[in-house]
């Protein structure tokens, strides 16, 4: 099935203003977006699904996510001294006359010579250069290393000095709330009511997180909480500010974006905040996990939440026929959103044997086919999704039927964002019921007085229903680490775990087979989670595959420590 216009939906779009068009350039082409677009939504609205090439095999890639966890849609922005490589298209707001460029491809994004690496992928398994280039000895210095160095690195470094100004600032607060979603705003209101100064940081330009997109009445709840907070003298609200690291005794570093990519404002571009927090409430939310099925990296395979965001927030249809594949109830929202926007949803593919929660029932009532106990055997298509081949989940991938579609919305469950909690020594616990690591309330990071100084609220604490009584309780998430359950090697060798660094299920299994039982060693050997997305999408799935290969429970190999600073 081909990718057909129009890509901008006739109605909707919470964040865009259709009255104001914004011209920009992508690889020399003149395109137009709308005020409020991100680069990713503007490119999708122009039918540009292909946004980058993967690092190792140069496979064509489109956006997977709609936020800071995006591993694929990395672009070079600007020119001259203001050129900046590896900027996420999904978080960078579109500005007038922006110049954007795709990376890691030559001569062009569509026809990339480096893609021969993809055909040669059987000879480039994990750690191949540790084994392959050993003999003869002098060849390393004079032949192998120069070639490898030339192909290493993602994006080009800018050549001119940076003409922008930056500034630093200090702040002190009794309570710092990180995250401006419903959980963060509620926690801030409680903290302000209890007394003391409160500082609320939100990484995005909009308050509310996922709540306005996902819940009826969500925007009203957010507006009410904001109105209450704005009426208090002791509360400071700060948007476009990302808390990137928590250090000893409540020392929090944050980056505020002031005039990013808009050099004509005459103000400093970014501000570095050094904040002394009495205590920190991390309401950082959760990130959706991808599912591992064959060819899950073809442009058009996206997280279910991202498909929902593009439709609801930017009125962009990533495609006209959307197949949803899931192991939980939450992804049914994507099917309902797409259906309501007039897009086709030929089927919801659910790996669980039954799906009887409120959302699946709503989907059935809307006339959407729900296939339970079913899995995707493989995705058809190379530069964009053309269809999916389905099979039973408890099988070895014998094809059962084929469905034409141009987008696959996948959801493998949600993982709490626990970086701030882990930075200063907070420990995590494996939540068997929800298949996620969440903060262990008994082992928090400690302050100078020996008491925990970080608490976690909302989805970051594993409470995925904190948006309140708006929802019925959802059906349980079934852990699905490989899809279908007994997939043979041929399929596992096409299942991507780390999209940017091209780490597949078989690479992690190879590492386990070669004795890399520790997750940190496996990470180093396969480069799993070492890309600029810092493993936000890949760590838990990779850990699960490693544990299965080692026949250990998932909590056995310790989770890799979160690195500071968190990158945006």
């Amino acid at each position: 099935m081909t990718h057909t216009p129009p890509f901008r939906l006739p109605a909707g779009g919470r964040r865009i203003d259709r009255a104001w068009q914004v011209p920009f350039r992508f690889d020399g082409r003149h395109l137009r977006g709308l005020t409020g677009d991100t680069i990713a939504s503007a490119l999708l609205a122009n039918g540009q699904l292909l946004m980058g090439r993967s690092f190792k095999y140069h496979r064509p890639r489109g956006p997977i996510a709609s936020g800071a966890e995006e591993p694929n849609a990395l672009l070079g922005l600007g020119q001259g001294g203001r050129f900046e490589p590896n900027q996420r298209a999904t978080t960078t707001p579109l500005t007038h006359g922006m110049i954007t460029r795709s990376q890691n491809c030559w001569p062009s994004l569509e026809a990339d010579i480096g893609a021969v690496n993809n055909w040669l992928s059987p000879v480039f398994p994990a750690g191949f250069y540790y084994k392959t280039f050993i003999h003869p000895r002098p060849f390393w210095k004079h032949l192998f290393e120069p070639i490898i160095r030339r192909s290493a690195g993602l994006g080009r470094a800018p050549t001119d000095p940076d003409p922008d100004r930056y500034e630093q600032a200090y702040a002190f607060a009794d309570t710092v709330v990180v995250g401006g979603g419903i959980a963060g705003l509620t926690a801030a209101r409680d903290a302000a009511a209890a007394g003391g100064t409160v500082l609320v940081l939100e990484q995005d330009g909009h308050w509310g997180g996922r709540t306005p997109t996902d819940h009826d009445g969500g925007q009203a709840a957010i507006d009410a909480a904001l109105a209450d907070l704005r009426g208090r003298d002791t509360v400071t609200l700060r948007r476009n500010t990302m808390a990137t690291g928590l250090y000893d005794h409540g020392y929090l570093i944050a980056r505020e974006s002031l005039a990013d990519h808009d050099p004509n404002q005459g103000i400093p571009r970014q501000r570095l905040w050094r904040i002394r927090a009495g205590r920190v409430i991390a309401a950082t939310g959760a990130l959706e996990r991808p599912l591992s099925f064959a060819s899950n990296d073809v442009p058009g395979v996206m997280l279910a939440s991202a498909v929902r965001d593009f439709i609801a927030d930017y009125a962009v249809a990533p495609g006209r026929r959307i197949v949803v594949v899931t192991n939980n109830d939450d992804a049914y929202r994507t099917a309902l959103t797409a259906h309501a926007a007039g897009l086709e949803v030929p089927a919801i593919v659910d790996a669980r044997p039954t799906a009887d929660g409120a959302l699946p029932q709503a989907a059935r009532a809307a006339g959407i086919t729900v296939l339970t106990g079913t899995a995707i055997a493989k995705v058809k298509g190379a530069k964009h999704v053309e269809g999916v081949v389905l099979c039973d989940h408890q099988s070895d991938g014998t094809p059962r039927q084929t469905i034409d579609c141009d987008v696959v919305a996948m959801s493998g469950g949600w993982s709490p964002v626990v970086h701030l909690y882990s930075h200063c020594g907070g420990k995590l616990t494996w939540d068997e019921g929800q298949s996620m690591f969440r903060p262990d309330p008994d082992r928090p990071p400690l302050g100078a007085d020996g008491q925990g100084n970080v608490t976690v609220a909302g989805a970051a604490n594993g409470d995925l229903h904190c948006a309140g009584d708006l929802e019925q309780p959802a059906g349980a998430t079934m852990p699905v680490w490989v899809m279908p359950a007994r997939a043979p090697y041929k399929l596992r060798a096409k299942m991507w775990l780390d999209f940017q660094n091209d780490v597949k299920v078989t690479d992690v299994e190879l590492a386990a087979q070669e004795g890399y039982a520790s997750v940190e060693h496996t990470k180093r050997y396969t480069t799993l989670g070492m890309a600029t997305d810092q493993g936000k999408l890949s760590n838990i799935n990779g850990l699960a595959v490693l544990s299965n290969a080692l026949n250990q429970p998932i909590q056995r190999p310790a989770r890799p420590r979160s690195a500071r600073p968190i990158r945006r």
Partner: protein, 115 residues
């Protein structure tokens, strides 16, 4: 970035105001000591994971040296006290014992010089 309270001026000083001075309570080995003791005094340092005693100077404040008892693993600070003491005073020892019941001092208080 640690925050330590200066016992002289009472300021809650951030690490940028302080200058670290390494391990506390080192006994000076004089001219009559053996080479081994002198070498140990010069070079051998504890690298404790847990309770540790350190010298700090309130460099951008009152300028005085003081000592701090803290946990190197959890960042908990048990207390700070003045530098003119050969061993941690009783209130610091009590504070550590309260937080770490299985911790025992590695010195005998009797050999300490009366304050």
């Amino acid at each position: 970035m640690l925050i330590l309270t200066c016992p002289y001026c009472g300021v809650n000083a951030e690490e940028t105001e302080l200058h670290p001075g390494g391990e506390a309570h080192l006994a000076r080995i004089g001219p009559n000591g053996t080479d081994e003791d002198f070498e140990s005094y010069l070079f051998a340092r504890k690298n404790a994971k847990g309770v540790h005693f350190e010298r700090w100077r309130h460099a951008y404040g009152c300028g005085k040296w003081f000592l701090a008892a803290r946990c190197t693993a959890t960042l908990q600070v048990f207390g700070t006290y003045r530098a003119q003491t050969p061993h941690p005073p009783a209130d610091i020892v009590d504070a550590i014992r309260k937080a770490r019941p299985d911790w025992t001092p590695d010195w005998t208080p009797a050999e300490g010089i009366a304050e």
